[in-house]
């Protein structure tokens, strides 16, 4: 169990509505949430409960109708599109269910992409990418293209990309959804390790066994946080527990 650091992501009274009048849909209602450095927070809830909307707002891909979102020391609502893109390049990484690697780029090039987009030259960006790939245990696959990698390997590349360089917040949307259970556990182990190494994570998942890797779990229903758990148990111990 690591010691938690300062708050990296803070959502305060965040509301998100779509449409107008009778067609209004409340995706999120007055949601408060904090994620600290060294903390992995799982978000669970039924379909349509607002999990993905929460993730999109946290990363600045979507804007709240009301409330505030702070990332590190920056208020997202006060930033224009360019500044938000810059924040995503430097502070936030996404991991998706479908891996979402760019098929035309090698693993290392996929990982170095946010750095290069941020103006880092190709060579130092590659050095950072190789380090990130080493952190997730697949440095030897750096020059392979996505279609030459297994699902688990692709998701490790995605995690490496989410945390390359100075990025410290990973937003993972069902990262194990397209993987078998063994590979899924493997990916969660990597994600947990990266968070323990000093990152922060917000994990959307349907499955409790993957949520168990988180420090705490937030439950959403109809856009409202209806419950949250305390600190996590030792998942590795649970996995090796004798069912008998």
């Amino acid at each position: 169990m690591t010691t938690l650091g300062p708050v990296l992501l803070r959502l305060a009274q965040v509301t998100r509505t779509h449409g107008h009048g009778e067609l209004t849909v409340h995706a999120l209602r007055s949601v408060d949430l904090e994620v600290r450095v060294g903390e992995l927070v799982a978000v669970m809830g039924p379909s349509g409960s607002g999990k993905s909307t929460l993730l999109n707002i946290a990363g600045g891909l979507d804007s709240p109708t009301s409330g505030t979102v702070s990332l590190a020391d920056a208020q997202l609502s006060g930033l224009d599109l360019k500044a938000r893109a810059r924040l995503r390049r430097r502070s936030v990484g996404y991991v998706f269910q479908d891996f979402n690697l760019i098929p035309a780029l090698t693993a290392a090039e996929n990982v170095s992409l946010p750095r290069e987009l941020d103006g880092v030259s190709t060579r130092p960006a590659r050095v950072e990418a190789l380090a990130a790939l080493a952190d997730v245990g697949i440095a030897e696959l750096a020059d392979r293209f996505p279609d030459e990698l297994s699902g688990g390997q692709q998701q490790r590349v995605a995690i490496a990309r989410a945390l390359v360089g100075p990025r410290r917040l990973v937003l993972a949307d069902e990262p194990t959804g397209a993987l078998d259970s063994v590979t899924g556990e493997d990916v969660m182990r990597v994600l947990r390790a990266r968070v323990d190494a000093g990152a922060a994570g917000l994990l959307v998942t349907h499955e409790a066994r993957f949520a168990a890797w988180a420090d705490r779990t937030v439950f959403l229903r109809d856009g409202v946080v209806v419950d949250s758990t305390g600190p996590r148990p030792d998942v590795e111990a649970l996995l090796t527990l004798d069912p008998a």
Binding site: N56, L61, R89, A104, P114, E116, D118, G119
Partner: protein, 929 residues
């Protein structure tokens, strides 16, 4: 804050890899961009190779040692660049040619007394073998001296003695002779000699076709500069020998003497363009007509480029939509709108550059192969010249077209809904509501500017209008598609689905419709112009005789040492031996009487009364702009329009027919009877009604002048009763009654027989005509002859129009198919839903057909309207290109061909889409697409 070049590199890498991964789409765009570049590169290589390059040109002009080549053009100043002249200026104080001695003195005054001059003396000559004859230029020059390098033979050797000649390859082919064989050679005014061919000249060397050493044929006395007038020469030239270079200043000074100069020093180190009057004299370079022609060409090229961009556009739009998830991913990881835009734009640049470079390499290869493998002879190329700068320009153009085609999809792509794209939801960026309004405004302004510019002969307006019109039509197309979606509620299910889908998915539909508009507009405009051009040619076609009338013309010249009196009779008899004539008449042309008709020229014209003359013609000063503008609307100033007319009996400018009525009657035009009666009654025929004076007379001016321009013309007037004919052919400009010339007091003119006109009882078969033509040629020996049969007007545009329609259909189908293919992929989920609720298997085909029909139908209708307007504007601009509007240029709409495109293209698109779409409906679940 600038992020430097790193984001560019990252985006370029993705664009490059994407292009390599999406091979089908890349290949399609590469072909669309590359083919025109390839064709253009082949054309520029062939064009540049068709003239000698600098090294070869220098060798063919000045050989290895001479300093310059001087060619006499006229007694006034000429303007030239380093190679060619644009002709002589007119200077009324300098109309008489100087003697050779005067020219050489003037040249030495410019170049210095030490300058050595080697002269080539020339004549026209008749060359004969046992069975063939040909007329060509003959020259004598010291081939064993410095000039020998200019005429270095490609086969055989230089002549070494009198009686030996070099000949050109075309003459060798024409006469069927080779090195070592003998010819009969007779220069004008000299006796015939037998000469032996020692070698063949380089096919691109400039000069006479037969070359010999001095004194071989021309008497030495004739070469004495003090004795020989320039008029006796034909193609006289000098080479400057010695060591002093001939500079550009020398060239300009020699130009003032009427000499075209090709200088070794100037060719090696050309002066800047600013030093050349040819490039700096505004009047010479930008005459009104040429500037207007340039603008018309600019309009066509501009519209063509715009069309190329529009036609390539759908492929990029489709690519951008297919890459929407990738673009969203880039955004999710910090790429801003510029990065997304760059990705699509770079995709265009990468594919465009790659395709253009490959096309340029292939084009150079194909051009080089053609230059190398084409047979030596008339179609041969002198050398292979690869104009790298122009090819680089074409590569840049191809890349630019691809980048421009990717521009709009790139701007649309950067507005991608990241969340929707990442979650696999289909989202269409909302169209700008202002675009159709802007489109309508552009359409209105463009049409007004184009039509107004065309009607007022202001090509600049017309050009701008044409381009605005096309852009406006494309911009409004989205709104038309939306309207179709709104009226779809009455349509059957499949059609309704297709129309609604087409309207909602404007991102994929609009570029495809734009491409169809571009293809159809281009084709329709081309069809309108071709049809109108054909109509113009038909209107200006002026037959000189009834269809089927036979013309047998003989053209003896000063080289023919034959009895002219019996020539026409022999030619006529030879023809009738093969093809009997029902009626015939001997054609007589008025000419200057002996002893030397060849050195004198006769012009006869009918003067209009002063009140019928164009006021500008009567000014003894330069007309003002206002006077010129007034003249454009004055019917008296109409030049009469262009006339396509033959005159087989012409023996030069102003040949005048003399006739007692029998020739005109035999020519058989509708008014021939009245015209023949008028001639028989002593009246003169004219076809300019304004030339008939109030008292019914025609005032003729006869002018005789020396061909060499020396001395003043001898003129005399004659007033005769006149008769106006409607036939517009130049033959009917003036037809004199018999004996009229005998009333001239100072001029000694005589009629000479020039041919036979006749009619046959039945149309001549082609082989009969060929046999009769050969019989005539055989009967009158080396004298030139021509046999023609008056033919009806034949259009020459059928094949071209077919090609235009085919290209439009292929391009339109390609654009439609790209969009329908993407629609089919994107509609899988909807089609699965249709299948789930019980749609028949045929539904998928019907939907694909309806989608193709909606895109192609919208595109062809808008494209045809734009094309008709564009074509009309081009025709109207062409109509106003001359001094005054040419009424024979009329807008003619090719309804049948346009209808075939408007109906055929959508029908083919629907048919192909239905035929090539699998009927089985997908069973995948919603969301799996």
């Amino acid at each position: 804050m600038s992020r430097g070049a790193a984001p560019w590199r990252a985006v370029l890498r993705i664009a490059r890899r994407d292009a390599a991964r999406s091979r089908g789409r890349t290949a399609l765009i590469a072909v669309m961009v590359g083919l025109p570049v390839l064709a253009a590169v082949v054309i520029v290589v062939l064009l540049r190779s068709s003239t000698p390059g600098d090294a070869l040109f220098t060798r063919l002009m000045v050989g290895e040692v001479t300093q310059a080549r001087l060619s006499y053009h006229c007694p006034a100043a000429i303007v030239q660049d380093v190679r060619q002249s644009v002709g002589c200026s007119y200077d009324e104080s300098r109309v008489q040619d100087p003697t050779l001695a005067e020219i050489e003195d003037d040249v030495r005054a410019v170049l210095g007394d030490d300058a050595g001059l080697v002269r080539l003396d020339g004549r026209r000559a008749l060359l004969t073998t046992t069975d063939r004859s040909s007329r060509a230029g003959y020259g004598e020059v010291d081939l064993l001296g410095p000039v020998g390098g200019v005429f270095e033979p490609v086969v055989g050797d230089l002549p070494a003695r009198a009686g030996e000649v070099l000949i050109s390859s075309w003459l060798a082919e024409d006469l069927g002779v080779g090195v070592g064989e003998e010819l009969g050679l007779r220069a004008v005014g000299e006796p015939e000699q037998r000469v032996r061919v020692t070698g063949m000249l380089h096919p691109f060397v400039e000069g006479p076709d037969v070359l010999a050493l001095p004194g071989t044929l021309l008497p030495t006395a004739a070469q004495d500069v003090d004795l020989a007038p320039l008029a006796a020469q034909w193609g006289v030239e000098w080479w400057v020998t010695g060591t002093d270079p001939v500079t550009w200043d020398h060239v300009v000074a020699l130009n003032d003497l009427g000499l075209l100069v090709r200088s070794r020093a100037v060719l090696a180190d050309p002066p800047p363009r600013s030093a050349m009057p040819l490039h700096t004299d505004g009047e010479l370079v930008q005459g009104g007509t040429s500037a207007r022609t340039a603008l018309l060409v600019a309009a066509v090229v501009g519209a063509g480029l715009l069309e190329a961009v529009l036609i390539v556009g759908p492929a990029f739009a489709v690519g951008a939509r297919r890459s929407s998830r990738e673009l969203a991913l880039l955004a999710a990881h910090g790429g801003d709108r510029r990065d997304l835009r760059r990705l699509v734009l770079w995709n265009g640049v990468v594919i465009g550059l790659g395709a253009s470079v490959v096309a340029a390499v292939l084009g150079v290869g194909a051009g080089a192969a053609l230059v190398t493998w084409l047979p030596v002879g008339a179609g041969a190329f002198p050398n292979l010249v690869v104009p790298w700068l122009e090819i680089l320009g074409l590569i840049a153009l191809g890349t630019g077209i691809a980048a421009a085609a990717a521009w709009l999809p790139a701007h649309r792509a950067c507005r991608v809904d990241v969340v929707a794209a990442l979650s696999g939801r289909r989202a269409e960026a909302a169209p700008h509501h202002g675009v159709p309004v802007v489109g309508l405004v552009l359409l209105g302004i463009g049409t007004a500017a184009a039509v107004s510019g065309a009607l007022r002969a202001q090509s600049g307006f017309a050009v701008a209008g044409v381009l605005l019109l096309l852009v406006g039509m494309v911009a409004t197309s989205g709104a038309v598609v939306t309207l179709l979606g709104r009226v779809a509620r009455w349509a059957p299910t499949a059609l309704r689905f297709a129309l609604r889908d087409t309207a909602r998915q404007r991102g994929r539909t609009a570029p495809a419709v734009a491409a169809v508009i571009a293809a159809v507009a281009g084709a329709t405009a081309g069809l309108v112009f071709l049809t109108s051009s054909d109509h113009h040619d038909r209107l200006t076609w002026a037959p000189i005789a009834a269809e089927g009338t036979v013309h047998i013309a003989v053209h003896p010249d000063e080289l023919d040492d034959v009895d002219r009196a019996g020539l026409v009779a022999r030619a006529g008899a030879a023809f009738e031996d093969v093809a009997p004539l029902a009626t015939s008449a001997v054609v007589r042309i008025l000419t200057v009487a002996e002893p030397d008709p060849a050195s004198m020229s006769l012009s006869v014209w009918a003067e209009r009364p002063v009140e019928a003359m164009c006021p500008v013609w009567l000014l003894e000063r330069q007309a003002t702009q206002q006077e010129l503008a007034d003249a454009q609307d004055d019917p008296r100033c109409e030049p009469g329009g262009s006339v396509l007319s033959s005159n087989p009996y012409s023996v030069g400018f102003g040949s005048v027919l003399v006739d007692d009525g029998t020739v005109v009657r035999t020519l058989g035009l509708p008014e021939a009877g009245e015209a023949a009666a008028a001639l028989a009654g002593g009246a003169v025929l004219v076809n300019d009604a304004a030339a008939l004076w109030a008292d019914g007379t025609v005032h003729l001016t006869f002018s005789v002048y020396d061909m060499d321009g020396s001395g003043d013309p001898h003129e005399e007037e004659l007033v005769l009763p006149g008769h106006v004919v409607g036939a517009r052919g130049s033959l009917y400009g003036v037809v004199l009654p018999m004996g009229a010339w005998e009333r001239l007091e100072t001029l000694d003119l005589v009629p000479v027989e020039a041919g036979v006109v006749g009619t046959t009882t039945e149309p001549l078969a082609r082989d009969t005509l060929e046999a009769a033509t050969q019989a005539v040629a055989d009967a009158i020996g080396p004298v030139a002859s021509g046999v023609e049969v008056e033919s009806p007007w034949v259009t020459g545009q059928d094949v071209t129009m077919l090609v235009v329609v085919a290209v439009a259909v292929v391009l339109g189908l390609a654009a439609t198919w790209i969009a329908v293919g993407l629609a089919a992929a994107e509609s899988r989920a909807d089609l699965a839903t249709l299948a789930a609720v019980g749609a028949s298997p045929r539904t998928r085909r019907t939907v694909a057909g309806a989608q193709a029909g909606a895109i192609a139908g919208t595109g062809v209708v808008l494209g045809a309207v734009a094309g008709l307007l564009l074509g009309a504007v081009f025709v109207l601009v062409r109509r106003g290109q001359g001094f005054s509007a040419d009424p024979t240029w009329q807008v003619v709409l090719p309804w049948a061909e346009v209808a075939s495109v408007v109906i055929g293209l959508p029908a083919l698109a629907v048919g192909a889409a239905m035929l090539l779409t699998r009927s089985r409906l997908p069973l995948s679940l919603r969301g799996s697409a």
